[in-house]
């Protein structure tokens, strides 16, 4: 069966703006979108440019938009796409500048990975006898003992160490759309991976402190795209929520994001209602409040004015109980 591939084309040397080019390709059973692109390149048009390496969904090279959805080309079956869309549309990832055709500039993405210090900051003492040694005849080596449970968040199939840095999540991240300096899902998932590592001795909690800075994990807008688009089944946003929890548990609450969360929790714990003015003030201070004014003004024009004094809701007792269950009383 023949099918059509419609590819995004752009070469900065010759093209003023991007355009699309159509190719007709012969299908075979099991053909992937990457196979189709390779076939085009070797048989029809050597100028079509894209990255690829492993062809088995492990190196993270071949992420692109296929019929509008960010995917790995090597893991996407042509037949399924054709059944659904009748064509294969391929476009480069978003949130990164295009170098050429389907190839984007990943420098910023990788810089953000580097920024979270993706390595052990120190070593737990019982790991210290891990000194290299060449064994002599009859000699054995003893190894440090870690309980299985200590690695429980690092050894599951969909745990963060399985991230292949493919940028699918980053391309779809709503947080990056709003703030190009936001670290983004992959870097924060990596941060969480090291926070969870039992060997990492981050004595002064610098990982959580740094991650709480502007552009860090409080800048996630919870759009859930990262979880939805990750080809390895990882959920960076779950890691981000865990980072939030850990920061608040460790009283690292200087950022407006964390203040926001704490303030909402407090407001509900006190009155059962959201005190929007107070929350805005407690999260962002006077400047935050001023920043929110235009929005508030607009809402006001539409008749949505928050009450200045909140009444306790009827079921306040239930909320107190829930807070007690969740161990949140001290955060009030």
């Amino acid at each position: 069966m023949e099918f059509k591939v419609r590819a995004y084309r752009f070469n900065p040397e010759t093209d003023e703006k991007p355009y699309y080019k159509e190719y007709t390709v012969e299908d075979y059973p099991g053909m992937t979108v990457l196979n189709a692109l390779i076939k085009i390149k070797s048989e029809l048009d050597g100028t079509l440019s894209f990255r690829r390496s492993c062809r088995s969904a492990i190196c993270g090279s071949c992420a692109m938009k296929i019929n509008g959805i960010t995917k790995l080309a090597c893991k996407t079956q042509v037949s399924l796409e054709i059944d659904k869309f009748g064509i294969i549309n391929v476009e480069p990832l978003a949130n990164m500048p295009v170098i050429r055709d389907l190839i984007v500039d990943q420098e910023v993405f990788f810089d953000k990975i580097k920024a979270i210090k993706p390595y052990l900051l120190g070593q737990r003492e019982d790991a210290a006898h891990n000194i290299f040694k060449t064994l002599k005849e009859g000699e054995k080596i003893s190894q440090p003992v870690y309980d299985k449970s200590e690695f429980k968040n690092l050894t599951g199939n969909e745990d963060t160490p399985n991230c292949i840095l493919c940028e699918c999540c980053y391309s779809e991240c709503g947080g990056v759309v709003g703030n190009k300096d936001y670290l983004g899902p992959a870097a924060l998932a990596k941060l969480y991976r090291y926070v969870e590592d039992p060997r990492d001795i981050d004595k002064n909690g610098s990982r959580l402190v740094n991650g709480s800075m502007p552009n860090g994990f409080w800048d996630c807008v919870h759009c859930q795209s990262c979880e939805q688009f990750c080809p390895k089944g990882i959920s960076p946003v779950k890691s981000i929520v865990k980072l939030h929890e850990k920061s608040i548990k460790n009283s690292i609450t200087f950022s407006s994001g964390s203040k926001h969360v704490v303030s909402i929790a407090r407001s509900i714990g006190e009155t059962g209602r959201l005190d929007e003015i107070k929350v805005a003030f407690e999260s962002g201070g006077v400047t935050g409040l001023l920043n929110d004014l235009p929005v508030a003004f607009g809402a006001g024009l539409k008749g949505k004015i928050p009450p200045l004094r909140l009444k306790l809701i009827k079921d306040m007792e239930d909320i107190r109980l829930a807070y007690k269950e969740l161990d949140l009383e001290d955060k009030l």
């Binding site: 070469n11 040397e13 010759t14 099991g30 992937t32 390779i38 070797s42 048989e43 050597g46 100028t47 440019s49 894209f50 990255r51 690829r52 390496s53 492993c54 062809r55 088995s56 969904a57 492990i58 190196c59 993270g60 090279s61 893991k75 170098i99 050429r100 055709d101 190839i103 990788f110 580097k114 210090k117 993706p118 390595y119 052990l120 070593q123 790991a127 891990n130 000194i131 290299f132 040694k133 060449t134 064994l135 080596i141 190894q143 440090p144 003992v145 870690y146 309980d147 299985k148 690695f151 690092l154 050894t155 199939n157 160490p161 399985n162 991230c163 292949i164 840095l165 590592d197 060997r199």
Partner: protein, 558 residues
């Protein structure tokens, strides 16, 4: 022109491990790689990495298994180093941040692997290479290492008998760059793309080996190509030996576990050469299933499959349309690993002073005629580390007594420009497919003189046609067309070295099986082959001795 003390070409496990060793000492290093480091093919390794930890196991047993697995062609002094340094290396990696699955005692969990007399393969589910690669890359970042990624190395330069640097093509900007150095390490990986139906990444084109032989460095034992017994029927994507380690069965069309005929004791866990031949024999004799064999893991149960082999499950579903929880997986042998490579000693040194190699591109030789599963990842870290240490030592005394020949940059640039201008009609992508198919058919699992001579003829024909290659892409920005054309010329050269070596070696040993010489012949062939180019670019062969220290060659049965 750039200048550094050390250039490391290749950012897979071997290159990164060497880089960490050098950067820990504060040495000026640049890593050059044609892909971003984490895209290197080391990341695809699934099954495990060997080291004797258990109190009932010993490194000496690992030593013997490896020698036997190599069909006695491995150098025993080097294998002794590989196995006695294995546990130390793994613990060191662990302390650098690499995660391994745990056993009930809190130590590193280990699974059985083919040809190993004890379960000694350390793993991270079925993605151990991924874990190790990202772990080491993280350390390269920790030690703030300069990396030139998406730079394609085209030449190795020497002067005064010593290495002087490399020439590289900056793929993104289309510019050639010279990098002068006192030491150069090639950790450029294997050449799986010589064959159709292979488990390798598309970038595994044997560049480092081709560049080396062109620069006068001998390649050793190139006729030994490992065919992995379990690769997905339609794509060649690997199903780890760990699957058999966990208890998978191999079945023929009659539903029989045919390995009982070929390796009654080891069964499915016989070494790869033995299993690959058994499968091919079953297929050739009409007991295959549509040209494939079945790998059955259903009896392991869903839970164990999900825990230990999650990637295998996903790959089978995505690439073969088979859910192994419910159906057996159709598999067949596929080209997998390059036992041969750039001849080095056990410190990574080659024939040229200051020039080193480690990992799959090197031939130390610890794998001899057949590599055991789980020994290659080990090879990359043990010898990557040793090369790093040796280079650091070398730099202490290395003098600035060599010049970087800048005209070489122009020369390579000219080559690219010429190619771009060519009006030829041949397409390198199609020539590559023809070559790969020829190599699979005639220099594959079973080999025979006449078939291999046919392959040589084909290679000759392709060399002629290659002169007429035309390049569609004239651009300077990310021109992958021209890079692939160069990769093809490397594959073609390597294919010829393999084929000539395989015709020369008139015996069967390990992965090299000649139907016309089915026996191992220790009196004539217990020796390494060394390939070099003569003045006219013809391949010629020499031999060198195998280091035999502890274990005298014995018949190899499993």
């Amino acid at each position: 022109m750039l200048k550094h003390d050390v250039v490391i070409v290749g950012a897979g496990l071997a290159g990164l491990r060497a880089a960490v060793e050098l950067r820990k000492k504060g040495i000026d290093v640049v890593i050059v790689s044609k892909v971003y480091p984490t895209r290197s093919h080391s990341g695809a390794a699934q099954g495990g990495v060997n080291a004797a930890f258990d109190e009932n196991d010993s490194w000496e047993s690992h030593f013997f298994d490896t020698v036997k697995g190599s069909d006695y062609l491995g150098d025993q002094d080097a294998i002794e180093i590989l196995t006695s340094e294995a546990p130390g290396n793994i613990l060191e990696l662990q302390s650098m941040g690499v995660v391994f699955n745990r056993n009930d005692k809190g130590g590193i969990a280990q699974r059985p692997f083919g040809g190993q007399s004890f379960p000694r393969s350390c793993y991270y589910a079925d993605a151990v290479g991924h874990m190790m690669l990202h772990g080491l890359f993280d350390n390269v970042l920790k030690y703030k290492t300069k990396i030139l990624y998406e730079y394609f190395v085209t030449s190795l330069l020497t002067d005064n008998g010593k290495v002087s640097g490399v020439v590289a093509y900056d793929i993104k900007n289309g510019k050639f760059e010279g990098i002068a150095a006192k030491a150069v390490l090639f950790a450029t990986g294997g050449y799986g793309q010589v064959y159709s139906s292979n488990t390798n990444a598309l970038i595994n084109t044997g560049d480092g080996m081709a560049i080396s032989i062109n620069a006068g460095v001998p390649l050793m034992d190139m006729e030994f190509v490992q065919f992995h017994p379990t690769t997905l029927k339609s794509t060649g994507i690997l199903v780890t030996e760990g699957a058999r380690g966990e208890g998978a069965y191999l079945l023929n069309s009659l539903g029989v576990r045919f390995m009982s005929k070929y390796a009654p004791k080891a069964m499915e866990l016989a070494p790869r050469d033995v299993v690959a031949r058994a499968e091919q024999t079953e297929i050739n004799e009409g007991r295959g299933v549509d040209g494939a064999i079945l790998l059955d893991i259903r009896h392991l149960g869903k839970e164990r499959i999900m825990e230990r082999l999650p990637q295998i499950m996903q790959l089978s579903i995505d690439f073969e349309g088979v859910n192994p929880i419910h159906e057996p997986i159709p598999i067949r042998p596929g080209a997998h690993y390059s036992m041969g490579g750039i001849k080095t000693d056990y410190n990574g040194r080659t024939a040229i002073e200051g020039y080193y190699s480690a990992g799959e591109s090197a031939c130390v030789s610890v794998h001899g005629a057949n590599r055991l599963g789980g020994n290659s990842l080990l090879d990359t870290v043990v010898f990557g580390r040793r090369a790093g240490i040796d280079i650091a030592e070398y730099l202490k005394s290395a003098a600035e007594d060599r010049k970087f020949d800048e005209s070489a940059i122009k020369r390579d640039e000219e080559k690219f420009e010429q190619l771009k201008k060519s009006a030829g009609k041949e397409r390198h992508g199609l020539l590559k497919s023809e070559l790969q198919e020829e190599m699979r058919a005639n220099v594959g699992v079973f080999r025979e003189e006449n078939a291999m001579k046919k392959a040589l003829d084909k290679i000759g024909e392709l060399k002629e046609r290659a002169k007429n290659i035309g390049i569609d892409d004239k651009s300077k920005t990310f021109n992958t067309d021209i890079v692939e054309a160069f990769e093809f010329s490397n594959i073609l050269l390597i294919a010829e070295v393999i084929t000539r070596g395989a015709i020369l070696r008139k015996e069967s040993r390990g992965a090299h099986y000649r139907t016309d010489f089915p026996e191992r012949d220790d009196s004539n062939w217990l020796k390494h082959t060394l390939a070099t180019l003569d003045g006219k670019g013809n391949i010629k062969f020499d031999f060198s001795e195998v280091a035999i220290t502890k274990f005298k060659p014995q018949p190899r049965t499993y």
